[in-house]
Symmetry: C2
Subunit: 115 residues, 2 copies
């Protein structure tokens, strides 16, 4: 996934945040949305995405709904109540991570956050 080591811990955060904004998305749609939003810089591979979606579902953060579209099966994912809580938690973790990296990289800088 983009060969950037940082990106490798962010897949769950990305999935949950996109589902917060979109109500309902299917796997392939998520890969395309991320590619679009990041101008192709982050590419989510299927081998990473589908296991991640299955895991979030197994943890009760996502629910699924199969739809038939033009003789093709789509599996739509949505946030559960627990999933919605988890979004805030993941975003807080992301913000904390960025702040901590700023402290390490810019020592002696008053924090003025960006995320």
């Amino acid at each position: 996934m983009s060969s950037n080591a940082l990106v490798k811990g962010s897949l769950q955060t990305i999935i949950l945040k996109l589902l917060e904004e979109n109500e309902k998305m299917y796997g392939y749609e998520i890969t395309q949305k991320v590619k679009e939003l990041t101008a192709g810089e982050i590419k989510i591979t299927e081998g990473a995405l589908y296991p991640a979606l299955h895991k979030l579902e197994a943890e009760g953060l996502l629910t699924t709904e199969i739809q038939q579209v033009d003789n093709r099966v789509r599996k739509y994912y949505s946030l559960t109540k627990d999933g919605k809580k988890e979004v805030s938690s993941k975003l807080a973790e992301l913000q904390a991570f960025v702040e901590n990296m700023q402290r390490i990289i810019n020592p002696g800088l008053k924090p003025e956050f960006s995320l």
Copy 2:
């Protein structure tokens, strides 16, 4: 390491950046510096740190120098020429990561970067 999934891809960046600022550090010192800079939020475990240092040395990014201090052995690490180049590269990756996450999380926001 801090139970935050994002932190898990950032250890090399942290090590290299600290060595850019400090010329010469030993393992235990790195764990303490990170704890201090992040107010205890990021804790680097020995099981993560030492293998990471050995790998960076094997890749030619760090050199070592043993010193005896009060009957105790310290292994000091410094950046090689390649290591210095790698610092910029890792920081650029971090910045790109943060920008891309902002695009995903704040869609429709003009970027005004922070790192």
